[in-house]
Symmetry: D2
Subunit: 362 residues, 4 copies
């Protein structure tokens, strides 16, 4: 603990006496020190990410999200993004070690492994990764690799609301989507139907297009229509359930925010959605980069279940995604020119109050 402020030094403030005493190589291998420091740096940054996540979740966990607090959310999210970029970059330092250097001390770990990083597991859970969506390693759940106390701790964390669900609830409360007789979903659906009809006509009428190209274009259009049909049927409770995690109102609101993001009241919410996608992408990228590094260090070395680390990690990069829904929405964007025009009273609601008496404000 730092001394009383009056005697505070750089060293005591940062707890360096303790911090710099926590590196204990178990072998004589030169590169083990790098290995330890690098993993410790990861854990320090994970602690910060969790700390920022606390603030984000506190804001979204409130019954109503104050506009002022969205600045805090953005600040924490852009810090997380920045840290994640660093953590991806940090893997380059690991690769200043060669596979043979690694072999010099690989033996000391026995069953200890990065699988056991509780902070990383907590991060995954709190963002919203569900146990039944995880892929196993060597045919076993990741929980098998955790000490019992950590497993219990993780189960406690799982019981709290995850960020993705908190964001979903916040989205579902968005005003404007249904307001004073305006229904975004109806207007949007009509716009989609018209757009597809126009596209089909344009393809059929085009004289320059060779028959084969026309065929291709029509097939693409049909695929697109099928996707939209699913979306609308499901909205009516008739389609097969699509793999969305967000509720329907949340999805509609997210689409609405994407399409009308220029409105003053939607600019910051749009930045929030963008930031969530950044974070999701950076986790995927980190996992993939990690997989490549492991392949380089271990080749096709197998666990007792016959899995290779690379294959497992590369698979998590595509499967362990959390804000997939936000990416999936891109499928259903429609061009600005086809966007339903917002009724004037809806648009006004999304502006600032200061314009009301712009005269005396000047």
């Amino acid at each position: 603990m730092p001394k009383k402020p009056a005697d505070l030094t750089y060293k005591s403030y940062l707890g360096l006496a303790d911090l710099l005493k926590t590196q204990h190589p178990l072998s004589e291998a030169h590169d083990e020190m790098m290995f330890i420091v690098l993993h410790q740096a990861y854990e320090l940054w994970f602690k910060l990410i969790l700390f920022e996540l606390d603030r984000v979740q506190k804001v979204f966990g409130a019954k109503t999200v104050a506009d002022a607090d969205l600045r805090l959310v953005l600040a924490s999210m852009s810090r997380i993004v920045n840290v994640m970029q660093l953590l991806v970059r940090q893997l380059d330092i690991m690769e200043t070690m060669t596979p043979l250097d690694f072999l010099d001390f690989r033996g000391v770990f026995r069953s200890a492994s990065g699988f056991q990083s509780m902070q990383f597991r907590e991060l995954e859970v709190r963002l919203g990764l569900k146990s039944d969506e995880r892929i196993g390693y060597d045919g076993k759940s990741f929980e098998n690799f955790l000490p019992e106390e950590d497993r219990a701790e993780l189960h406690r964390i799982m019981k709290k609301p995850a960020l993705v669900d908190q964001v979903g609830a916040w989205l579902a409360r968005t005003p404007f989507v249904e307001m004073g007789g305006f229904s975004f979903w109806k207007a949007y659906r009509k716009a989609v139907v018209d757009m597809i009809e126009n596209d089909r006509e344009a393809i059929l009428k085009s004289k320059r297009m060779p028959a084969s190209a026309r065929e291709t274009e029509l097939t693409k259009l049909k695929n697109m229509q099928a996707q939209f049909d699913q979306l609308f049927l499901e909205g009516e409770g008739k389609g097969e359930a699509l793999p969305w995690r967000f509720s329907k109102p949340a999805l509609h609101a997210a689409l609405f925010i994407n399409l009308y993001r220029d409105q003053p009241a939607l600019q910051v919410p749009f930045q929030v959605l963008n930031g969530l996608m950044d974070i999701d992408e950076l986790f995927a990228l980190w996992r993939y980069r990690h997989a490549l590094m492991v392949q380089r260090m271990l080749g096709t070395k197998m666990g007792s279940g016959g899995s290779t680390g690379h294959d497992y990690l590369a698979a998590t990069a595509s499967k362990h995604r959390i804000f997939k829904d936000l990416f999936g929405l891109s499928t259903f964007l429609i061009p600005r020119s086809k966007l339903p025009k917002l009724p004037r009273q809806v648009e006004e609601r999304m502006g600032f109050r200061y314009w009301d008496k712009a005269d005396d404000a000047a």
Copy 2:
């Protein structure tokens, strides 16, 4: 063409009058300019990578590779690595565009697509990606997306030796691997057999290890032994063919270089092998990062064959690897402490000549 040197200006030297006239947006969408400039920057750097590859391939294409020329190879490779890192980073700029911004001009492309980048295709082919190892898009070979003239050009390029095969041939010529009665492969095989035997004994004797852990460790050891057995049987012509691209002598030499890289004569060759892995990884990383970006822009939008861009690109990241063999070798490294000691006359051969008369040199 630049003016005569006497009147040379920055503008004429760089051909800026032409260069800055090649941006022709086809829509009114603001973000199309970024889209064009970014792709042009990619193509400029691809041109440079191909140019550096020319030099690398020229050195490796020679009958014997002069030691002095390996410095040129390293210089070109480290430039390629540096450029590839930039190109991965460059995708961040693409994501300053939102999916809705992209939709504003996505319609102008019709069948034009990044698939048609001839420089990138040339790069893949010259590094060593084989047509029959490529995965198809929408059920079709990538060639289907190329204009006929480009297809013909690419076929011409395919007939020339690829870098991976040139490197394999160079490796296969490495002296030292068999020299004056010393056979690296025999010595290595013996070391492996001894190592596995010792490991097994250590596991069986260990008293502290619980039975279940012992079981796991023995299974891992068995898996490892099976991999080594395959390697050795195949070396004798008895095993199933492993999916190596390198010839056996090339593989043996690559392993030798990895294991004895401290020897003066192997230091630079070792850096070469490392650089090739860097390049391979960076291509994989670029492909994966690209896949994430496409998912963000297009969601699950499908081509006429029902493929989504993301799935296709993410699959190429793991399948379109070229120097897989070098990664695979990590499976077969053995710890320095188990390494066969090199006979003195072999070790001497790998040193510098100047030590011969170190006295008068001082």
Copy 3:
């Protein structure tokens, strides 16, 4: 120019036939190709930065800045920031060339030099760098190094409003700073006076502090007070003119935005000010990184006036700053706890209109 859309290919769309024909090395030196491609990439990105600057300046050049348009400003600014980060990083590629490699073709340039990049000069001028604030090279104005036609073109650009001045004018129009009887400047001044008084008392009363430390603290406080005094006296027209470029109302507004940035109406303006500082810093960083690279390539090689490239460039990094005022404001921030509380009617004005009828919106 690209072909008609129907025949559009990747190659024609991007003008690759022309683009990839603009590289004309004048020597046989291998590294000249990298040198050309790298500079061309700079010029391509400069074109994009200028294009984004067009949009930013168009928004700020309007008589009133629509709230919706601030999203466009942020989008363009964050793209510029992203590109500038890439351009700093890009210098690493230059340093894959060694000084001796550079010497192989340095002779071909004669008087051609990076000084002559018109796009970079335009960028500096449009951001707001003034001719009389520039430092000379070899005792001469940078204009001496430009062809006559470029000089004339630059003079035309100088006559248009610079971004820094447009931003200043926008800031000066900020409502809220004086509103309905509330004067931010008066309230702020009172808060500052109180804060300094409290700090002085605290230091004098502190019993634990040794005499020498007390002396130091009091000196620091005196320095701080002197800076604030200058600021206030100048505001009354009595102080020496401080080197601010912004007008007083603009400065006050910028300070106001920094201090009350959580208010919904100030969140996006605050991001704008932050983005301008990012851009300013990245230009300084690029200049400094460039200076280091030149020192590595040329050592202390001098121009005809005896200047070395490194010294000149390093000096521009600290002198050629444009948004210095925004950095300078940090001197005058006061802790949140000392901030004057905003009157309720002012705070309300900075909120969103939709809260007015939050009930029916729900």
Copy 4:
């Protein structure tokens, strides 16, 4: 300390129980956690840099540097370079904090400051920064800011050989520079004299060059000659002492290595010199980036001696350079075409021994 290997977990191996307990914010300010974590990450990486420096200094501190050990030097240096790049990048995370956020807890530090980072001071000293070359802060030596015990420790470190001097001694022992009748320095000097003479003639004879350009070219040539004259006169003990830190034999060897780096025996030494320049540049870049960040956070806030943090730090970027000599050498490189041809027996000495009996090696 980690538990006995048999019970080893990820957590015990990395000392996480302790590591993650060393963060003790002294205020309620949200951003203080980031501030602490970021500085701790710096200190962790500094520990690693010092650890790698140990290995580098051990190799160079030996009486003769074994060729095999140069690989270790390169490995450690390229790790340091990689870490330093990360540390420059890491400052971006600091700037996710705004100046007002910083003000929320700036008060807790009192006299504690980054000045007191002992690991950074040790790093500077061991690389070779001399006390009398340091610039003061607020008119005082940096030692004034250190606790007494640290000052004593630093003095102990100052008594050990610094890396720059060890490298100088190693360079001075380079064979080849004078060998069997060949004197590199004589041959080089003759080449320089001839080169300047030829250049002068070429300028005087050139008919296309306008008189003013000729004047400029001749002035540049005169400046260049003056620099070379100084170098040669000083070599003879007649010139004013130039500000070199290396001894003359070390300088000559460094120049020799730069000019003949393709020779097998010089390839790795050349990489070493390059790596040292990379490290030197990255320290300068880090200092400058740091200065920009401080300016953003504090504006022109002054210490008790009236210095601003930004000005001090920016000044250290250009003054606290250690391998300046290596940069300075670029001034004296001559084009490859003018290089004295090495006598055959010297060139042979720089090759590998294995070529001696290439036949039986095949």
